[in-house]
Amino acid sequence: MPAYELAIMLRAMPKNELKSSLRRISQAIFDRGGIIRNIENLGFRPTPYKTSAHGLVHREANYFIIKVDTASQAVADLKEEYSRDVDIIRQRVFKAPTDIQDSCTLEDELLPPAYRKDVQKMIDIGKTQVNRFTYKFKYNSGLDYYPFQR
């Protein structure tokens, strides 16, 4: 079961309603055989832009992040169910971030262009792209003058 993060915005509402809607949201995950690892509350704050959902315009929202382990098949189902939920203003599902540590390539990128690997590769490609279609006059073909206009 891959790990996902549900980023959910809930509409402004009193605490007991919030509690019940969170319970409803998590129940939907449990019903599809998912596991909740963690629920983060990012607080109640004004949104950076107004959002309209279910016929209402929202300028404030409760932000939650739910870390879920669930089957990939269930995610589309969950999204569909949450889209019908009136309390949810907006929901996004992301794959949980994995740590990929690569060494910094800034030093190579600050080199002069001729020394950079990607530029060298481009030059090599450019050398193969010779125009074969424009005719180039050969001077050893018997004519002792250039027959075309210069």
Binding site: P48, Y49, A61, P97, S103, T105, L106, E107, E109, L110
Partner: protein
């Protein structure tokens, strides 16, 4: 007479006769082991430069929108380019992807920078890009 002997003695003592040997390239044996050049790393190599996120080992994340907002222009909300932020290719791509995610989740605005974050410390100077650009 005694005085003369004393003087001669002193002089002879002062003048030391050192036997001089003329060295030629044929008979001088310099052992090659102690005088050979030693294989060491170049002590004058500069330290490898790293971008600020790699140096501090920070992975950009859409939940950490305060950090991401530092890569936005305070006037237009646009993401600064690599020539301004001074990030390596990978980190810049991650930052751009995470900012898009954060904007989509309504953590960050699209067209301005959050006024709470305006006075955050500057990670770079947009007026002095590391590479010249046409703007």
């Amino acid at each position: 007479m005694a005085l003369l002997k004393k003087i001669i003695n002193r002089h002879i003592v002062n003048v030391r006769i050192v036997p001089t040997v003329r060295l030629t390239s044929n008979d001088v044996k310099i052992s090659s082991s102690d005088d050979a050049p030693v294989e060491i790393e170049n002590p004058y190599t500069k330290e490898r430069r790293q971008c600020i996120l790699c140096k501090l080992n920070v992975t950009p994340d859409y939940k950490n929108y305060r950090l991401l907002s530092q890569f936005q222009s305070p006037y237009t909300g646009r993401i600064y380019g690599r020539h301004i932020t001074g990030l390596c290719r990978q980190k810049q791509m991650q930052v751009e992807a995470e900012i898009t995610k954060a904007q989509n989740c309504a953590y960050l605005p699209y067209y301005y920078k959050d006024k709470r974050f305006i006075k955050d410390p500057k990670l770079f100077d947009p007026e002095n890009p590391i590479r010249p650009h046409r703007f």
